[in-house]
Amino acid sequence: MLSKINKNKIGYFFIAPFVIGFLLFGLYPVYNTIALSFTNATLMKSSSKFVGLLNFQRLFADSTFPTAIKNTWELWLMNFIPQLGIALLLAVWFTSTRLKIKGGGFWRMLFYLPNLMMSATIAALFFSIFSLYGPANQFLVRAGILFEAIDFIRNPQVMRAVVVFIQWWLWFGQTTIILMAAMTSISVSIYEAALVDGSNGWQMFRYITLPLIKPVMIYVLVTSLVGGMQMFDIPMLLTDGRGSPSNSILTNNILMYMKFRSTDGLIGSASAVGVVIFIMTTFVALLIFYVLREKKGEKSKEISS
């Protein structure tokens, strides 16, 4: 009894490096962002003063803000749902001993390749493809699909689709790798037992795989949410950095960046956007945790049945 309590205290030693490291390096950026959001600090002036909630008030009164939120959500969901779907599919296929898909490592490596590319080059490539005199138009008009060239770059739906596609393309490989890492740890004997019981592939997936990788699924959902809420690189680099055309790809982070890079460098105002993004993300993440929480005795029940 006593020894158990003592042993638990050892946990403090394990987490100590993290806590110290955070206090030294991680705390300041967090504090900095939150503190600045309550000031009118700019990069071009050395003096600033406390303005309370002014930045937040202005933000909520700005008509661009709801647009940014809506865009961020839509662009994220449209890319994430297929991304997760395909990643799960691929992870199951590559780890299934039944299907014996060869060369899992090879496929996985190739699907991860996009993640290694720099966003700037991929955005420039797609911009080039869809420009008025670019290959997409050339092909579509000559193939008779279009009557005349469409300025895709100025077309909100097309540009959004391009952003969604690129985001999906960049990240589905990484998601597959993560899910595979989790799935390979599930003991094969569980599947064998289920097979003997007469379960089919879908049942095994739903009742064995999914519950056992639930913690990692939560990780995938939450980190993708965070990444989605802060989606920046691709929408920023694809057109003019302001969410054109017609603010259709203006995301939360682009709004934040626009303030940061305004002539005065409105870092107080930009930090306020950052804080709001943070609050929004935390709220939804808490929702995810709540919905997917471990219900008592659930895990052991699945395995024994």
């Binding site: 080039s128 420009s131 003019d240 302001r242």
Partner: protein, 457 residues
């Protein structure tokens, strides 16, 4: 034992302290110069020749993703703040209007002596205080196809063309001529984006007056002209820097169905000729070329585009040396002459600093900001490669003709973001997706996001 170690420590500390204060003979003063290009490094090396006791430490930080400005602002108040900074046209005014740059009034006499073009100093001045100077001047010009000019206007002579296109109204009228005579297969200009600069440069009022957003009539005229050009089909809609824009330079432009189209003219500044028009005047597959078929005129309105200014950071610990560096780069007649006439070859630079990279050199032709130097060397460009590119016309002289009338007084730090905010709403209007009023509203909303303290009616 303890006593001895204490004495030793004290002696050590004293020695270190003393050595930090004294400068050993032969030790050079370090001057930190920051830029976002490798261009000025050439002058930095040349500076070391005339100032052998100075070691210029040149740091290049790209500005493509904002690294340059972010880093600059991060170093304010720390030891790493540079002495001399390069400032590009898009953000130079922002720093000139701020408190970060030192006053360069000690250079005023040299400015007069070099007879710097007014707009160069106007950009670098705020509230009467000179804070930035440039070694170059970047007036804009209008480049047109000689063969097409002969076809549509009966002449390709620059003097005649300047008469035909002397102002914006004449310019629009000429666009109609081009369209009719070419059966719609030649566009006057690549896109309305090409001539936006002209209107902006010729307003009567700046964008911000008494902290209020002001729309000068020239801007209204710009919008109207852009609409006319779009509706009448005078532009190819290929925006600057896209494949279509480049293709038009070498006659390989084809619309989506494959029909060949031509572009009559381009608005480009000094650096546009050697770096944009000339390399792209031949198609990448070498199948078509327009070399020799170009000429240039000042065009309907004078303007400037781009350019790099130099300033001294107030927090610099080497103010005097930094100012001397700027004087050398931007006002020294010998340096500017060498710079513009191609004296700074790689061999020349390597002789001063053996560590000079292979590709570091300055080709002849950069248009400098000193009228004294310009007048001295213009003749030398009569038979240059660029002159041959322009069918015999001396581009240096042509830019010299355009430079004096460029207005730099209206430039403000907020210009860049105000003008950028207009691009997207303007395009929506040109496409017919919104009304004019909706365009202005959308623009004002966008400006409000980045300039919340501005009064916007």
């Amino acid at each position: 034992m303890k006593k001895i170690s204490i004495i030793l420590t004290v002696v050590l500390v004293l020695t270190m302290a003393l050595s930090a204060c004294a400068k050993t003979p032969g030790e050079k003063t370090v001057l930190n110069v920051w830029s976002f290009t490798n261009e000025i490094q050439t002058m930095a090396i040349a500076f070391e020749k005339t100032h052998p006791d100075v070691d210029v430490v040149y740091t290049m930080i790209p500005m493509t993703n904002g690294e340059y400005q972010t880093k600059l602002m991060a170093t304010l108040g720390t030891d790493a703040v540079p002495d001399v900074v390069a400032l590009e046209a898009a953000f130079v005014k922002k720093y000139v209007e701020s408190d970060f740059l030192a006053d360069l009034k000690s250079l005023n006499a040299d400015v007069k002596k070099a007879n710097v073009y007014p707009f160069v100093t106007e950009v670098g001045t705020y509230d009467g205080v000179l804070k930035a100077l440039s070694y170059q001047a970047t007036p804009g010009a209008r480049f047109y196809r000689r063969s097409l000019a002969k076809e549509y206007f009966g002449t390709d002579d620059p003097v005649e063309m300047q008469k035909i296109l002397g102002d914006m109204d004449k310019y629009v009228a000429a666009a109609e001529v081009v369209k009719t005579k070419s059966g719609g297969n030649t566009y006057m200009v690549s896109s309305s984006g090409d001539f936006m600069n002209l209107f902006y440069a010729n307003r009567a009022q700046p964008w911000v007056v008494d902290n209020t957003l002001t729309v000068d009539p020239m801007v209204d005229k710009m919008v109207a002209t852009a609409k006319t050009f779009r509706d009448s089909g005078y532009e190819s809609k290929a925006t600057q820097w896209t494949e279509g824009w480049f293709a038009g330079m070498n006659d390989s432009l084809k619309d989506a169905a494959g029909n060949p189209k031509k572009i009559f003219s381009y608005f480009l500044p000094t650096w546009g000729l050697p770096y944009v028009l000339s390399p792209n005047a031949t198609s990448a597959d070498k199948a078509s070329t327009t070399v020799g078929d170009w000429a240039m005129i000042t065009g309907p309105l004078p303007y400037q585009w781009g350019g790099t200014w130099l300033g001294v950071m107030k927090e610099s610990k080497n103010l005097k040396l930094a100012k001397e560096f700027i004087r050398f780069c931007t006002l020294d007649e010998t340096n500017l002459t060498n710079w513009a006439t191609g004296v700074y070859t790689n061999e020349y630079l390597k002789a001063i600093d053996p560590n000079t990279p292979e590709g570091q050199s300055q080709a002849a032709g950069d248009f400098v900001g000193s009228k004294v130097v310009v007048e001295k060397i213009t003749k030398g460009f009569d038979n240059s490669t660029l002159a041959q590119f322009l069918g015999g016309e001396n581009s240096y002289g042509a830019f010299a003709a355009a430079a004096p009338s460029v207005n730099g007084r209206l430039m403000q730090g907020t210009d860049d973001e105000i003008q950028r905010a207009l691009n997207d709403p303007l395009n929506a209007y040109l496409e017919g997706k919104t009304t004019l009023d909706q365009m202005w509203t959308a623009w004002k909303d966008a400006v409000r996001t980045q300039l919340p303290d501005l009064t916007i009616k």
